[in-house]
């Protein structure tokens, strides 16, 4: 849930989402859900000469599973807090996976 929680704080910020098909879309993050599906607004494709068909697209919904990277605005990330959140997540007994690894 950490990533969901994290991405929620980025709503309203400009991010660049790199997809697994090498398409990179820059836009304002409008919404994200627990599957990390992403909604972007005012989008612009990074290499728009290569993807002319994306020129007319103004906003989009990206399925979380096709995302390779998300480039974040550094100013909107509180790394110390993120570390704390990661620690809390690791402590939680419910997060079976991470827990069993750490112990």
């Amino acid at each position: 849930m950490l990533f969901y929680s994290f991405f929620k704080t980025l709503i309203g910020h400009q991010v660049t989402v790199e997809l697994k098909n090498d398409l990179a879309i820059t836009g304002v993050l409008t919404s994200v859900d627990q599957f990390l599906n992403i909604k972007l607004d005012d989008i612009r494709v990074v290499d728009d000469a290569k993807y002319p068909h994306m020129m007319a697209v103004k906003n989009c919904f990206i399925r979380g599973s096709v995302v390779r990277y998300v480039q974040l605005p550094a100013s909107a990330v509180d790394t110390a807090l993120l570390q704390d959140a990661a620690r809390r997540e690791a402590q939680q007994p419910t997060t079976g996976g991470a827990h069993s690894i750490s112990r």
Binding site: M1, L2, Y4, S5, F6, K8, T9, Q34, F35, D78, A80, L81, L82, Q83, D84, A85, R87, R88, E89, Q91, Q92, T94, T95, G96, G97, S100, I101, R103
Partner: protein
Amino acid sequence: MSGSFFGFDTTLPPLNPDQFAGLSGNHNVNGQQDETEDEELERKIKAFTLDSGENFEVFDYERNFDLGNQLEESGDDLNDETFGVSVDVGKDFDFIESTTKIADTIQKEEEIYIGRRESSTSENENNNRMPYAALWSNNSDAIANGKGNQANDIAPGVPPLPEPPISPSIWGFHPSNRKDALAQEIPSISGSFENSQRYTPPPPPTSPPPGFGPPSHSTARTPMSLEQIEAQLHRQAGIPEKRMLSLAEVEAALLGINGRQPHPMYPATEAIFREQKNVSYLEKEAALREQEALIERERKRRDKQRKLSEMSRYNGLMTQSDKDYINRIQISQLVTDDPYADDFYYQVYTAIRTRQSQPQMSAFSPQAGGTGFMGHERGRHRSRGSESGLQKMQQQVLRIVNDARRKPKMTQLSLEGALGKIALNSVRNPRQLLQVSSKNNDNHNHSGSSNNGSVHHHHQKVPSISSHGITDHRKVLRSIENVYTAVLSLEELKRNQPQRIYTDYERESYEKWKEEYAELAKTMWEELRVTEAIGVSYPHPLISILSISKGKKVIPRVMRHCNAEQILLLITMLVANFESLDVCKGAIWGPQGGVGPIMLEEVELFMNTVVPPLLQFVAEAQLRIVTRLFGLFVERNNIVWVARSKVGLAFLTMFLSRAEILKQGGGSIQGLPQPEERELIQWQELYNHLFCTLQNHFLSLFPPFLVGIDDMYVWQFLAAMAVGASTEQQHILVTEVRERVLDTVVQASRMSADKASHKIANVNLFLNALGLDASQLKI
């Protein structure tokens, strides 16, 4: 019928639709009303004839029947625009209904008139009369019908006449012409034409041009045949006869009055008509455009409607309980009994960010730790209206949470008889893509030494026999993490601190909270291992923690939960083991060794995280404590060496300046007693000792000139030294650093204004402490 009208119009310019529209208004009235209205019509007709005259150009053609071939066809260029090819022309042009009703009447009039004229007047006059009738009838169909009528009507009263020369032209010409026009131009309304065609006599088979009935043929037509047609027409149309008669009478009377007037007016009327025609075209076009826009709008609306209706096919597929079920599935993924546990980052982040704008943050209220679901912050700001719905949902959510809690967490489910296992993955329990076996890892790490691992805690299992550095480093990291864990719990407890303690229950819960808090604080303190005796392990556990950047970062947070005694203990330990601190031993400026950028970062981090809380503590300490710490610092460390590090010098400055403040009575502001004489003497001894130690080394405290490090901290230290120094000591100080002072001033003179002023200010820190200033220096 309108078709016939259009056909007529297209070929005959003067009879423009506008006129017809106006006329049709009259006809409408008459056609729909009963006989009482007829008189009015009469009046209007009269007025019109007076205005425009009867002689219309149209009838010039008709007069010379042969000219039918030469009929001007070019006038219909704009017909498409005017009437639209396929568009619905609208009610304005719908004369069919009204005209059909009235047409026959007019035809009758015509016939009567013709009959009369035949007997008494010349052909010319007849011609004049004809256009008039045509005008009124508005369409050739009517005229065509009228032809039949003529015979019909006239037959009883007037003796049957030989076909007048004009009428055949009219009858023969118009219907056929109309048909052509129709076929070419207005196919869309052909439906109405088909209707009207029934009324029209078929063009004579022998007529050479299809559009025009030659006069020779018209003569061949017998009144009888027309009569029959007319009769048939009447039967079909079922138009009452009485109206016609009345109109016929009116017409006759009219003729009597106006019959011959039109001739002189003829040219003028033509001009007027042309003008009117132009105007009417423009008007029609505007109207058409408007209509097109309307149609477009209507089309869009219909499209939308269609889409909606298409979607509405799925309306009601799910019942409300179905929807609730789905909602519950979705929400149960997001639901949590502690938003801080699952949504920590978001909650704290938004709290921090919004705290800047609004001081009181709801997330930090004691209720925030209660039941909620993710994004409840947003939910809270919703309007009152959705509040009850939200509550309902939260109740539901609470139930789900409780259910989930009751059930043990399963990651897999094996059904009886099933070959495989069903994985129960969820957002919080995702499918593990990496399978790291911790067992193998451990075995690999302390191969051959598993015998002594049993005593240790799991994460401290790594024995000290295998490589010391790594295991110690791991231990340190683990203890730092433990400190963090404790700190996080403490911070959470602090957030949930009960604020009102009035009732017994509240007091009880507060006591419980205090207990819990104290317990956790103790755990944290133990994890920090400050109290561990010096010399048992090297370096001291606290120093090890402080040697790692995240260990440095946790210090200010730890301090918040420490009491003064603990802080003193911590600072004592730090001072006593200062030499082994990474930011001290790794960041010594010397003639041979530099300091790497990574270490410089560490130094900065230490200065920004560890030093401020310590400085705060020292700034409130009594001279006795300062002297003790200072003594310990000087005694336990190689001061000449330590002082060459930025951190070491900062500590020295810290003690020196605090002591100086206390010496000068600054402690009274803080409510501290004036330092005793004994303490002051003690301090002076220590100071002298420090000065002696550092004598001849003051210049070496500076970082190399060329590195470009801001040497302000050195000047600060020198200033702190100078303030407490005796005159003799000051002299020594100045002599030692004189070179550096001059160098710096010279360097500053070559620099840009702001850099230079910074350099000069640094130097002045020291010079001002001696009562001097850089501007007094002569270079």
